[in-house]
Symmetry: C2
Subunit: 333 residues, 2 copies
């Protein structure tokens, strides 16, 4: 995969001692690898919970400087040890499945809300000067009333996961305003690339598509006309690093992707780069009830404050993902 | 206290078998007494948690038809027994102190969010046809960007309690949309009247004022220029009964009060009816950070759908409250 010049990041040059929660997951592990390459002192915590995105193989080949702890953040007793002395927290630990949040809402609540509030309380006590970058989601907007969706759009989630992520980002903002915690919230759109979960759609439908395409099976496209913007994970990692800039503290920022495409257009690109095929299916009823319809983000604010922009086109990004899973599928089966 | 004609309620004439959560609290107990008077079969559940509004004396003199169970809704095991066969749930159990939600955020979360999600999950299974009226709060709006505040105003709470109530009302709406639960959300403004907590400001500052006024001590007014609308609890009980109308299902409605007053105007009325005095004090720092500033609700939508309107003027309402606590203060000390 060819990439353009690196994004001109205005983040602190010295990232210092970093904690990445959910650091063996899809986005988390890509971020950890980048930080490791930048020479940062990285501590990873992940619960490797079954059905979530954590996968030890995601950190395969990282330098010995990366320390990995298997803990569940819902166990508040581990938090002081994780936070003490940290300059920066990338807070990515989450339950990410929308449908999963409906079938097991209490687990989503415990991971996405209760553990988050505990973490912020522990930050107040044990790392009050640490910068905290929280991974939220465009799911907090619910159905888009206008496109593209900027940060002033009303927040009215359509599933338990969306409500839980909304309150967690609310806590992050509140702890900035009331206690001066240096928090920044990013609202992510659909992300794809190496190290995502591809055995099912628990992280995003794109993962399930790639998994089937790489196995030579046709993937299923539900509907097909919905608009989405997609962000390649290396671009998103750039955005996380850029989000450490002090000017962003206290704010909430959309991070979108390249230009919006319909699911059918996306499927055509994936079919082309993988040599596979797909089938159009009607939307399953239990997903239709929590589907947000068309979405693409207006991330002008984040781009203007950081200089960030996505560099990786959809075709190059999907080709790189397919190549990655052709080589490593056994670790994601 | 003289009252006008009863509000022409469009609620179901037969309320049926009713559960009131938080039914020994301030608003809950006033509602239970009304339902009892209407001949309803009322089951009350309350945890009587120290520092909250529950008070056994609040149901003193209720008929033997009112059954009272002391349970904590955070114990999910009690929910099937509470819900089985219920036609109507008035869901008022809550942690209500804004400052308390900052000093003990995990308790606020467990009561106002975790227990609420459990309750809705249990409703799906054990009372899927019950109507559920949820007591939310104007605190979900945060600082008013325009006055009066209607339901389209952005929701951006300024304290943990506000975020937690917001997500709980979000769950109520979501469970209506996805599962057809017959939920209705009311966003309450400051409420006052007999049976409120008056030993401190954990329910509202008005309680603390009345408590001191009745004890012959000057009450403290912080600032004094902030606008508030206040709802007398008998009016609010009318609103809860009116909110059972099927046309309101799935919606979120402000329930405001009489016309807005400044805290100083309110203090003057209370001083006049109680014969006491007050002192103006600067806003304490830890409260200033979570104060919402001026607020009064636009509840046109609720009024137009139900015919409800507040009947009890501020002076008559405060006089009745002072009379109540002059007689019963020992039970609220």
């Amino acid at each position: 995969m060819t990439r353009g010049d690196p994004t001109p990041l205005r983040s602190d040059p010295a990232l210092g001692r970093v904690l990445v929660t959910g650091g063996m997951g899809f986005i988390g592990s890509n971020l950890v690898r980048r930080l490791d390459g930048l020479g940062a002192d990285v501590l990873v915590v992940d619960n490797l919970l079954d059905g979530q995105g954590g996968n030890p193989f995601n950190l395969h080949g990282a330098s010995p400087r990366v320390r990995v702890l298997r803990h569940d953040l819902r166990d508040g007793a581990v938090l002081p040890g994780l936070l003490e002395g940290r300059d920066l927290v990338f807070n990515l630990a989450a339950q990410t499945s929308h449908l999963g949040s409906m079938t097991d809402p209490m687990t989503d609540l415990s991971i996405n809300v209760t553990a988050q509030l505990q973490l912020l309380e522990a930050c107040r006590r044990h790392a009050p000067r640490a910068r905290v970058v929280f991974a939220s989601t465009r799911q907090v907007y619910g159905e888009a009333r206008r496109l593209p969706v900027d940060e002033t759009h009303p927040t009215h989630p359509l599933d338990v996961n969306g409500w839980n992520k909304l309150v967690a980002e609310g806590y992050h903002q509140l702890y900035h305003r009331v206690y001066g915690l240096r928090t920044t919230v990013l609202r992510l759109t659909n992300t794809y690339g190496p190290r995502m979960r591809v055995r099912d759609a628990r992280q995003t439908f794109v993962g399930a598509w790639i998994g089937r395409a790489v196995r030579g099976e046709p993937f299923e496209v539900w509907g097909g006309e919905q608009l989405r913007d997609l962000c390649q994970v290396d671009d998103l990692v750039d955005a996380f690093v850029a989000a450490t800039a002090p000017a962003l503290e206290g704010g909430v920022y959309n991070v979108g992707g390249a230009s919006a495409v319909t699911l059918r257009e996306l499927a055509d690109v994936l079919a082309r780069v993988s040599g596979g095929g797909y089938e159009i299916r009607p939307f399953p009823a239990e997903r239709k009830r929590i589907d947000i319809g068309d979405f693409h983000a207006d991330d002008t604010l984040f781009r203007s404050l950081t200089g960030w922009r996505p560099r990786i086109g959809l075709e190059a990004g999907l080709r790189a993902a397919v190549d990655y899973y052709r080589e490593h599928l056994a670790h994601y089966a």
